[in-house]
C-alpha cells in the first residue's frame, strides 16, 4: 500500500439531536480507487462534506490530513485549492452555458482583466480529451445527456489540477454503457495518478473497480476491506449487520385476504427528466395490511406513490390501477383523496405542511368541507377537531393555534399524520414517516400505524430504514431502478436479502 494521501482521524459530527458520525477513521492511499459504501443515512455524505469543506473546520471533531498536512478547510474553495474536487449526484453545471464556459467557471483563464476565450476553448478541448469525450466544447450543456454531463464535470475537476476526486453515486442515473465508460475513465485517471473516492450503492461495480472498500454503518466505520478479500455477501453483512433493537410494537393481527389496491404493469415517464422512472410495476395491498417499499434513495418509490396519488407532477403513465376491484384513473390528488387514499409526503416542510399557518389550519386543510356549512368554515369546530388529534396523536404543542414551524420534527410529522387521518382514508401512504425524528416519537408513530391497521386501514410504508421496514411490514416490496426487484413476506425477509435485491 502506498503512503496515504488522505487520512481522516476520529471524526465526530453531531447535528441537533443526532450523531451523524462518531469517531470515524478513514484512510485513502495515493493512486487508488477507494469505494465508500453503506446504507442510506450511514454517514457517507456527511463524511465527504467534511472533507470538501461544506462543514467547515471547527464544526466537527477530529483531524483531516491531506497530502501530509492537517487541513482546516473553511469552505469548498479551500479544499479545491488543496486539490480535492467533489462531484455530486445532482450535477452542478449551468445548462444554458457552453461546455468550455462550464469547465472554467470560477477559475477563468484571464489575459489581464479580460477572459481569454481562445485559450479557454483550447484548454477545454484538452480536458475533454482526457475524459475521452469527443464533443465540441462550444456545445451547450443543456444539449448533453446525463452521462456526458458527468464527464464534463470530471473534466472541470481535472482543469483545477485535482489530486483527489470524489464521486457521489456517479452511476445512479446512468445507463449501462455510460456507467461502463465512467468506470473505465476512473481506471484511466488512476493511471494518470489521480486518486478517487467513489460512493456507490451498486455493489457489483464497487467490487469491480475498487482497490479498497470502507463500509460505514450508523455513523461508524465497520470495516475496511481490500479487493482481494471482498465478496458481495461480506459487504452486505457489514452494511446491515446491526442489532435490531425491538422497538416495534407487537404484530397482533393478520390482514384479511381482500385486496383494496392493485397496480398492474404500471409505467411512468418523466417528461422533464426525459426518461422512464417506473418500469412495469405491479403490486397489491390487502385490507388491514402494512406493506413496505424498501429500496435505495432514487429508486423510484416516491415517484410510484405520487403517480398513484393523482400524479401531480404530470408523469406520462400507462398501466392499470384498481381500488377495491374497480379500475380508476386519477387526474388530480383531489380524485385520489375522494377515493379514500391519503399520502403523507416525504418532505414535510417542503410539500407537507404550510409552515406559516398554525396546527389547526394544517390539520383541517385537506378536508375543510367536513367542518363547513355552505362553504363557511366553523372555526370553533375546527379547534375542536384539532384538539382531538392533538390528544389522540399526542402532539406536543402549547395550543393548536401555534404555528407548525415552531414544532419539533416529530410533532410536525404527527400534524401531517393528523391532517391525513382527518380525511378518513382507507389507504394511507406514508413516505419516510420517521425521517429525522427521535426514537420516542418513532415508537409513537409505529403504535399509531398498528392501531390504524387494526381498525381496517391499509398502509403503504416507504422507508429507507431497513429495520423499520422489516419490523413493521406484513410484506416487503423491494424497488430498484424503477422496477419491483422482489417481494418478501415478513417471515422470510432479512436485511441481507432486501439489500441484495435493492443493490442489484
Amino acid at each position: 500500500m502506498n503512503a496515504p494521501i488522505l487520512e481522516m482521524k476520529n471524526i465526530t459530527k453531531e447535528f441537533p439531536g443526532v450523531k451523524a458520525l462518531s469517531d470515524v477513521s478513514f484512510q485513502v492511499a495515493k493512486g487508488e480507487i477507494h469505494c465508500l459504501v453503506g446504507e442510506n443515512g450511514a454517514g457517507k455524505s456527511t463524511l465527504m462534506k467534511i472533507l470538501s469543506g461544506v462543514y467547515p473546520h471547527g464544526n466537527y471533531n477530529g483531524d483531516v490530513i491531506f497530502n501530509g498536512r492537517v487541513q482546516k478547510f473553511s469552505g469548498i474553495s479551500d479544499s479545491e485549492k488543496a486539490g480535492i474536487a467533489i462531484i455530486y449526484q445532482e450535477l452542478a453545471l449551468i445548462p444554458e452555458m457552453t461546455v468550455y464556459e462550464n469547465i472554467f467557471l470560477g477559475h477563468e483563464i484571464k489575459n489581464g482583466l479580460l477572459i481569454d476565450w481562445n485559450e479557454t476553448i483550447k484548454q477545454a478541448g484538452e480536458m475533454l480529451k482526457k475524459v475521452n469525450l469527443d464533443i465540441n466544447p462550444a456545445t451547450k450543456v443543456r444539449n448533453l445527456g446525463v452521462g456526458k454531463q458527468q464527464l464534463v464535470e470530471i473534466a472541470k475537476a481535472l482543469s483545477k489540477d485535482v489530486k483527489l476526486l470524489i464521486l457521489d453515486e456517479p452511476t445512479s442515473s446512468l445507463n449501462e454503457t455510460d456507467s461502463e465508460n465512467l468506470l473505465a475513465l476512473l481506471r484511466d485517471l488512476k493511471h494518470q495518478g489521480v486518486t478517487s473516492i467513489m460512493i456507490s450503492h451498486k455493489l457489483k461495480e464497487v467490487i469491480e473497480i475498487a482497490d479498497t472498500i470502507t463500509v460505514l454503518r450508523d455513523g461508524q466505520t465497520v470495516a475496511t476491506l481490500s479487493k482481494d478479500e471482498v465478496t458481495e455477501h461480506k459487504l452486505i453483512k457489514h452494511m446491515v449487520g446491526r442489532e435490531i433493537n425491538n422497538i416495534y410494537p407487537k404484530r397482533e393481527h393478520k390482514p384479511s385476504q381482500e385486496i383494496v389496491l392493485e397496480v398492474k404493469n404500471w409505467n411512468a415517464y418523466h417528461p422533464t427528466l426525459g426518461r422512464a422512472i417506473l418500469k412495469d410495476v405491479s403490486f397489491n395491498l390487502k385490507k388491514g395490511e402494512i406493506i413496505g417499499f424498501a429500496g435505495l434513495i432514487g429508486s423510484g418509490r416516491t415517484e410510484l406513490a405520487l403517480s398513484i396519488f393523482g400524479n401531480p407532477d404530470g408523469y406520462r403513465l400507462s398501466g392499470e390501477l384498481f381500488i377495491n376491484g374497480i379500475k380508476k384513473q386519477f387526474h388530480h390528488p383531489q380524485d385520489a383523496i375522494k377515493t379514500g387514499i391519503a399520502y403523507v409526503t416525504e418532505d414535510r416542510k417542503g410539500d407537507g405542511l404550510i409552515l406559516i399557518q398554525d396546527v389547526k389550519q394544517n390539520i383541517t386543510l385537506a378536508n375543510l368541507y367536513k367542518i363547513s356549512q355552505r362553504g363557511i368554515v366553523n372555526n370553533n369546530a375546527e379547534i375542536q377537531v384539532a384538539n382531538q388529534y392533538k390528544a389522540d396523536l399526542n402532539i406536543k404543542t402549547p395550543s393548536v393555534e401555534q404555528k407548525v414551524s415552531n414544532l419539533s420534527g416529530g410533532n410536525q410529522q404527527k400534524v401531517c399524520l393528523g391532517k391525513w387521518l382527518f380525511v378518513g382514508p382507507d389507504i394511507l401512504i406514508l413516505d419516510e414517516p420517521t425521517r429525522g425524528i427521535d426514537v420516542g416519537a418513532k415508537y409513537e408513530i409505529y403504535t399509531i400505524m398498528k392501531d390504524l391497521v387494526k381498525q381496517g386501514m391499509s398502509i403503504i410504508m416507504i422507508s429507507s430504514e431497513l429495520p423499520e421496514v422489516l419490523g413493521m411490514s406484513d410484506r416487503v416490496y423491494i424497488v430498484s431502478a424503477g422496477k419491483i426487484a422482489g417481494e418478501l413476506n415478513a417471515e422470510e425477509a432479512t436485511q441481507e436479502k432486501v439489500m441484495q435485491l435493492a443493490t442489484n
Binding site: 399557518q357 389550519q361 385537506a366 363557511i376 368554515v377 370553533n380
Partner: protein, 400 residues
Amino acid sequence: MTFFENAKKVLQQNIREYGMYIALFVIMVFFTITTNGTFISSRNIVNLINQTGYIAVLAVGMTLIIIIRQIDLSVGFLAGFLGAIAAIAMADPKVIPNGLNLPVYAVIPLTLSLGVMAGLITGFLVAQMKIPSFVASLAGWLIYRGAILVVTESTGTIIIANSAFNAIGNGFIPDIPDIGILPGVHKLTLLLGVVAVILLVINEFNNRRKKQSYNFEVLPTEIFALKLIFLAAIIGGITWILAGYQGLSWTAVIVLLVTLIYNFVMSQTVLGRHIYAIGGNPDAAELSGISVKKLVYVVFGSMGMLSALSGILFTSRLQSATTTAGTLFELDAIAAAYVGGVSAAGGVGKVVGSIIGALVMTSLTSGMNLMGIGISYQYIVRGAVLAAAVIFDVTTRGKN
C-alpha cells in the same frame, strides 16, 4: 391578572394587527393638529374617502393576488380602459360616434363582466401557460394602455351626461324626511351607524357565547367590554363626522360592501382558506387536493372585476373618461397592500389591512395638500412611509 396586565398581553399578541390602525390614527391626529382641524372636518373626510375608493377596491383584489404569490400590473390601465368603455356604452350616438345609449343598470354589469373576462385572460396566461404574472400582466399593462387610446382617439375626453352614473363617485345616500330633530345632520347616516354598532355588539356577543359553549378561552370580560366600547366609539365617531356633512357617499357604501364581502370570504369560507393555503405552500396545497390552477383563475377573475369597479368609480368621480385614466393605480394599490401588512412571500395578509393601507396613503396626500407641501416632497414622504411599514412588518413577523 389585573386589567392593565391583561390589556398589555392582548396588545402585545396583536401588535402586528393593531400597528396599522395605530399608524393611521397617529397620522390623522398629526394632520388635524398641523391643519388646525381642517383635516378632520366632515367635508375633508368625505372627500378623502371618495378619493380612496377607486384605489381601495383595487387594493382589495391585489391583496388576494399577492397572497397567492402573484402580481398584477395591468389593473390600472384596465380600470381606465373599462371606465372608457362604460362611458361609450352610455353615450348618445349623436355626441360620441360609437355610443350605444345603454341605460346605466345595463352598463355596470356589462363593465364588471368585461373586467372578469380580462382577469381570466391574465389568469389563463399565469395558470395554463405558466407565464410569470409580472410578465403576463405587464403585457396587459401595455395592451390596455393602448386600448384606452384607441377608444378615445376620435373623441378625446368623453364627458358623461348620465347623472345616476355620476352619483356613484359624487353622490350621497338620501336622507330620511326632516322630522324636526337634529337639523343640519344627515339622519339616515346616523341611523345606519347606530344599526352597525348594534349588529357589531350582537355579533361579538354571539361569537363569545359560541366559544364559551365549546369551552374555549375568550377575552377577559373587562378587555372584551373595552374592545366593544372602542369599536363602537370608532364607528360612532366616523358616522358623526360623515353625518355632519352630506352623509355616507355612494362610494363609501360600495367600498364598505366590497370590504365586508371579501373579508368574510377570506376569513370565514373554505375558498378563502384555500387561497391562503396555496399562498403559504402551493405544493402542499396541491397535494392536499386543492386545485391551484382553478384558484389562480378565481383570484385573477376577481381582480379583473374589481378593476372594472375601480374604473367605474374613477370615471364617475371625474364625470368623464380621459385618455390617461388609471395611470399608476396599480402601484398605489400594491403600495396600499404592502402598507396594510400583506407579505411579499405570500400566504399572509388581510383585506381590511389593505383598506387601512389605502387610507394611510390617501391621508398622507390629503394632509400634505392641506399643509401646502409640494408634490415632490409628498412622493418622498409616501415612499418613506411605505418602506417604514414594510420594515415594521418584517421585523415583527415571527415574534408570536
